[in-house]
């Protein structure tokens, strides 16, 4: 079984996250880059399967600038066997359609029986990349699964809905995404950290995947037309209490149709 785990590097959710005011894309220098927690959970699902199934190969797939290499090495330390990093300047600011097309090509290039992703990243929160990749690959997708069973020929899992749960299953090869109910990732073993440096990490450019920006763009993608700084907060209205503050306050709220 060959499992690809999608790994996304995101700005630390505990830090301040910024967009570049001119380009409208993420300002990566503004915060600490970390592996998205949901990607770590996806990796844990793959690693747990491998723990009990010898011969399973776990390959990480990440896309992004050079700093993504560090995220992939860290994920390799957790126990994945190898990693693929799609690195190309032309990918800066890639939208979801663009990203899904590239990841699908990289998935085919790498070979897979199962792709496991997080349901949605903590930065973009699109939540559609796994389904879009499945469309490209023409494979079944089971998304937003709270639990996942990987069998020899098929996968199954449970998805919550507003009214109940759905038992979903599909034949392999397939794409799945898991929710934050998937287990927390393990801590790295020191031998894993040491061996991570020696594990294969392949860097691929768009050309290596038989893609070029012109072809990708021709399928249509979002363009940032205009950026605008969020207006800074203005001072509020102060109601001084000269014995009539209650009425003043009520008038203020009523004027805004708040009461």
């Amino acid at each position: 079984m060959k499992i690809i785990v999608l790994v996304k590097q995101v700005p630390d959710t505990y830090g301040e996250r910024k967009l570049n005011a001119t380009t409208g894309i993420l300002d990566r220098a503004a915060s600490e880059p970390i592996i998205d927690e949901i990607s770590e959970r996806a990796l844990e699902v793959a690693l747990r399967y491998r723990d009990s199934h010898k011969g399973t190969e776990v390959v990480l797939l990440g896309m992004g600038p050079a700093s993504v290499t560090a995220a992939l090495r860290k994920a390799l330390a957790l126990g994945a066997d190898s990693a693929v990093h799609v690195l190309d300047d032309a990918l800066a600011g890639a939208d979801m359609g663009y990203t899904a097309a590239v990841l699908a090509a990289a998935t085919i290039h790498t070979g897979y029986d199962l792709v496991i992703a997080g349901n949605e990243s903590t930065d973009g929160r699109g939540g559609v990349i796994p389904s879009m990749i499945a469309e490209h690959l023409q494979r079944p997708s089971l998304t937003f699964l709270d639990s996942l069973d990987i069998l020899d020929e098929r996968v199954s899992g449970v998805r919550r809905t507003e009214t109940g749960t759905v038992d979903a299953h599909a034949a392999l090869p397939a794409i799945v995404s898991i929710t934050e109910l998937a287990p927390d990732v393990r801590f790295p073993n020191f031998k894993g950290i040491l061996s991570a440096k020696k594990k294969p990490l392949t860097v691929l450019a768009l050309a290596d995947l038989g893609l070029d920006t012109a072809a990708l763009s021709s399928r249509g993608h979002s363009i940032i037309a205009k950026t605008e700084q969020r207006p800074s907060r203005t001072a509020g209205t102060k109601v001084a209490d000269d014995g009539n503050a209650g009425v003043d306050l009520a008038d203020f709220l009523a004027a805004r149709h708040l009461i």
């Binding site: 393990r186 801590f187 020191f190 031998k191 040491l194």
Partner: protein, 598 residues
């Protein structure tokens, strides 16, 4: 519950710029342990200790280990799960020999792992600490068969180890022990007797416990010369390496004690228990001495580690607690960190903690040279220095562990004295460290009795001369270093005077030497601290981080001007001799006038 933040920038700085770690990474056998690799490992290790182990500390104190009527012992909630994760992550194996599954990293790095784990939870960290002691004994003296049978699973931590020395009548005088071992026809021994104060002697975190037990064989010489060391597994081993039936060892009770509530301190009964001799009969003390330096350094580190945790909590509290108005403050009230008295307590903790960390790691660095330096002369000298520094690290480190955790509590005021803030736990936990692994009095006796006399005193005086070399460096470093130089010069002179007195007096009047040994050891600790802080101040600019360099300079200056002068104040006590200590008899030490009236 207080958060634990691993002090990794200080540790990294000390490794690179103060204790010469890059030289250790160049020693044959440690090439894989380059600075960049170890910093990455320690980063991950710190994250593990902070996220997995530290949250168990408070529960460990509140719930404690619990003895069950069937003789089993439950560790506090969360301990077993954290321990299993610790085994999976493999941190205990990092400094252990590669041939048994370890990482083959230097002792220096192993000590940092211990520090991080002990700051996270001292009671929890005792289990791996004792296991490591048992492993070292087996690595040095176990037969190939014993090593193969026991070491791999002890190295991973799947099995834990204990050290069984103390008996009710045999504490500091281990030679008084009476547990008996009688050889059987099959070559194994039958052990009978009772051991007390056995840390993690019984628990639920591992499937097997390997007890190392000191006992006497029939007809053995009296005292320490007649002691042998045995392996007594909790479960007997089947021929195929699986666990068999329970051996004749059981936990009769666990102690109620001041601190480290999470660590079960067991009374173990040996009733015809099967044991396997390590080495030869009567070699027990020799085997124990192998681990002595290593275990004593680790206990000194405990003082540092718990002080670090308490310091972090007191620093956070000092910023959060608002009381009164500081001089020059405008707001309705001030955080107590704005008051000079609280600042003094914070600076005293910070400077002593920094000095202790440098001292412990310097000792460990010399240990690594003593085992791995290709030059036999360097190895021998490094071993002498380890011998000299170890009683100082153990005693000064653990005395300060008490004093600094007490300051951390003081910053909390009444809120610290009640148990709710949790800061009292650190003081209670740290209090054992000056007692066990050779009381601090015994450490001081070891320093003046055994270590000072090495090569007729030359080992110590050569080390002192080496410390003095920094005076010239400080003189060349500019005005900012002047007070550090002047203070170090003066107090090193006091230490030199005391050392000459000890060497002169010792042979003729050993009791006078012992009488001054405690204060004398503290003089050493203070000078080592001042010297290492000065080295840090000189090295600070090499980091290229101006704020960090300033921190080192200010800490070194504070240490030199405000902490180090205690050294010269101790000169009188160190050289006063024993007369006044013995001048009053026991009646006079009691309230004599009351006796006369009664």
């Amino acid at each position: 519950m207080s958060h634990f933040s691993p002090p990794l920038s200080d540790i990294t700085f000390v490794l690179e710029h103060v204790v010469g770690y890059p030289d250790i990474a160049r020693l044959p056998g440690y090439e894989h342990a380059d600075l960049e690799t170890v910093v990455e490992l320690l980063d991950q290790c710190g994250e593990f200790m902070a996220e997995v182990v530290a949250p168990t500390n408070r529960t460990g104190d509140l719930v404690g280990a619990r003895w069950q009527s069937d003789g089993s012992v439950l560790t506090p909630p969360g301990f077993a799960d954290a321990y299993h994760q610790y085994v999976d992550a493999g941190w205990g194996a990092l400094p252990l020999p590669e041939e048994f599954g370890g990482g083959g990293f230097p002792r220096t790095i192993g000590l940092i792992v211990q520090e991080l784990m002990t700051s996270a939870n001292m009671a929890f960290a005792l289990c791996p600490l004792l296991t490591q002691g048992a492993i070292e004994a087996l690595v040095h003296y176990g037969s190939a068969k014993q090593q193969q049978l026991f070491l791999p699973k002890m190295v991973t931590g799947e099995w834990t180890g204990t050290m069984n020395l103390t008996e009710p009548q045999a504490g500091s005088d281990v030679g008084a022990l009476t547990t008996r071992a009688v050889q059987r026809d099959d070559g194994s021994y039958a052990l009978s007797g009772q051991k007390i104060f056995i840390t993690f002697g019984e628990h639920d975190m591992a499937e097997q416990i390997i007890h190392l037990v000191l006992a006497r064989t029939p007809g053995s010489p009296a005292g320490t010369k007649g002691i042998s060391c045995f392996i007594v597994p909790k479960f007997l081993m089947n021929d195929d390496g699986t666990l068999g039936e329970q051996n004749g060892v059981s936990a009769l009770s666990i102690e109620h004690k001041l601190g480290i509530h999470g660590a079960p301190t067991c009374v173990l009964s040996y009733d015809d228990a099967t044991g396997y001799l390590i080495g030869d009969e009567n070699m027990g003390m020799q085997i124990m001495f192998v681990m002595m330096n290593s275990a004593r350094l680790s206990v000194g580190m405990q003082g540092l580690a718990v002080a670090e945790r308490a310091y972090q909590q007191s620093l956070a509290y000092a910023q959060e607690r608002r009381q009164g108005l500081a001089i020059g403050a405008a707001s309705p009230d001030s955080a107590i960190i704005e008051f000079p008295d609280v600042r003094r307590m914070l600076m005293t903790q910070k400077a002593h903690i920094a000095a202790l960390r440098r001292m412990m790691l310097l000792n460990a660095a010399h240990f690594d040279h003593s085992t791995h330096d290709p030059d036999p002369v360097s190895r021998a000298r490094a071993e002498e220095i380890v011998g000299l520094l170890t009683p100082i690290c153990k005693s000064f480190g653990t005395d300060l562990g008490d004093e600094l955790t007490s300051l951390a509590l003081q910053i909390h005021g009444g809120m610290g004295y009640i148990e709710e803030t949790g800061v009292a736990q650190h003081l209670r936990d740290a209090r054992i460290a000056p007692i066990y692994e050779g009381t601090n009095g015994i450490q001081a006796a070891d320093l003046v009795g055994r270590k000072l006399s090495v090569r007729g005193g030359a080992s110590a005086t050569e080390f002192l001369a080496g410390m003095r070399e920094i005076i010239a460096e400080l003189a060349a470093a500019g005005d900012a270093f002047t007070s550090i130089r002047v203070q170090l010069d003066q107090h090193l002179a006091s230490l030199e005077t005391a050392t000459e007195w000890m060497l002169r007096t010792g042979r003729a009047d050993p009791n006078a030497m012992l009488a001054g040994s405690g204060p004398y050891l503290r003089m050493w600790g203070l000078c080592l601290g001042g010297w290492l802080m000065a080295r840090s101040a000189l090295a600070g600019p090499a980091t290229g981080d101006a704020a960090f360099a300033e921190t080192q300079l200010v800490l070194a200056r504070f240490y030199a001007e405000q902490l180090l002068p205690e050294c010269t104040a101790l000169l009188g006590a160190a050289t006063a001799g024993a007369d006044d200590l013995f001048e009053l008899d026991a009646d006079q030490l009691a309230d004599v006038s009351k006796r006369l009236v009664g």
